[in-house]
């Protein structure tokens, strides 16, 4: 079984995908090149910038620091899937309303990471929002508007859940 190429089966955005992959292919390259899901971006390729963030079995991870072959049997959600199910529709709208993006390169990773924080109970403080997003770099906005958008959604969702 020690070989370069492996058959894998992954559930991507709810659909089962079977592919033969080279062991050296990272998850984000697999999603972009083999499945044409180009919403996950490739930035630094060593785990610093957060542009490649995706969810594996419900947890947000770096798509550049996992190999596609490791995801055999896993459930992977990308920004395309999460956006299609309307799970983050309010968050997307808040980003637009507050100009929380300019070039948009970091935005898919930013949204997925923010959504993970928003999935916890309670309204996070601005400090907590900044700490949670600390591994997602944005070179356009200066973060202020991003924190504003996440905070606004946290408050709206908390209201709605009362």
């Amino acid at each position: 079984m020690s070989q370069r190429f492996h058959e894998i089966a992954i559930t991507v955005n709810g659909e089962e995908v079977r592919e033969r992959v080279d062991a050296r292919k990272t998850l984000v390259d697999f999603l972009r090149e083999d499945l044409a899901l180009t919403g996950s971006h490739v930035g630094c390729e060593h785990g610093v910038c957060g542009a490649c963030s995706v969810r594996v079995n419900g947890a947000v991870v770096r798509g550049c620091l996992m190999l596609a072959v490791q995801c055999d049997g896993a459930r992977v959600d990308t920004i395309e899937g999460v956006a299609d199910t309307d799970e983050i529709a309010d968050l997307q709208q808040a980003f637009v309303a507050r100009n929380a993006l300019q070039c948009g390169y970091c935005t898919p990773g930013m949204l997925l990471t923010a959504q993970e924080l928003l999935g916890r109970s309670g309204v996070p403080s601005r400090e907590q929002i900044r700490a949670h997003l600390s591994g997602n770099y944005c070179r356009c906005t200066g973060y202020q508007a991003i924190v504003d958008a996440v905070e606004a959604v946290a408050k709206t969702r908390a209201e709605a859940n009362r």
């Binding site: 079984m1 020690s2 070989q3 370069r4 492996h6 080279d22 062991a23 050296r24 990272t26 390259d29 390729e45 060593h46 785990g47 957060g50 963030s53 947890a59 947000v60 991870v61 770096r62 550049c64 620091l65 996992m66 190999l67 072959v69 490791q70 990471t113 993970e116 924080l117 900044r130 700490a131 949670h132 600390s134 591994g135 997602n136």
Partner: protein
Amino acid sequence: MKPPPFAYAKARSVAHAIELLAADDARLLAGGQSLIATLNMRLSQPALLVDINGVGGLDHITLRNAHIEIGALVRYAQAERSAEIAQAAPLVALALPHIGHPAIRNRGTVGGSLAFADPAAELPACMVALGAEIEIVGPQGQRAVKADDFFKGLFETALAGRDVLTGIRIPVASGATRVGFAEFARRHGDYAMVGLAACAQADGKRLNDVRLAYFGVGATPVRARKAEPALADGDVEAAVSALVEDLEPPDDVQTSGAVKAHLAGVLLRRVARQLGRAAS
């Protein structure tokens, strides 16, 4: 960049991993948060990656009488959520939020941090401060190595080529246990320029068994053995002065050795307050 070509095998058990590691240039893959970055940068070119993520029985957090056992595959995020760790190993709980970012903590493992032994990493220093034991299984069987003896040099540990780090054993904190943790990093989640993990046992107004483990100041975690007795006596400034003999931080990409030496003193004063021994 992209990783160089390599073969990949999923280990079914610790024994199977040890068997697979017999191949030339084989490396263990746990959380991969350092290893895959070094592959992407082509800083390492293994012929085979042995993935232990599917091996059962390595992700337990178990409270025994005198110690808490943490399996090698326990991820930082899992450890952060653990009530057992918060109660029995509060120093680890203090250190965890400083490690990387949430997405890194979702994937990175406790065992991986120790086996990789980055000199600026938080957990190796915590293990030294706590007097933890590292559990290892190799071709000759099982053994345990004290954290003080485990870190041998820069990215070098007591692990041999076919050894698998399976878990750690940390003495359970008692009512008298005091811990402290602080680090300086340019941004939250970055590797520290300098950090300090500390553990002591309070005995009335005194502290016993003070253990100060610095990170980011040398090739391995460094005990401040001259500062420890000074702090036990309650003399924080004498402890800070003693650091000159204890530490010789080299210059690195982040800052000069002189700045690190200064920051080490600042951290000691902060951590001394956490240990409840600062002169008011």
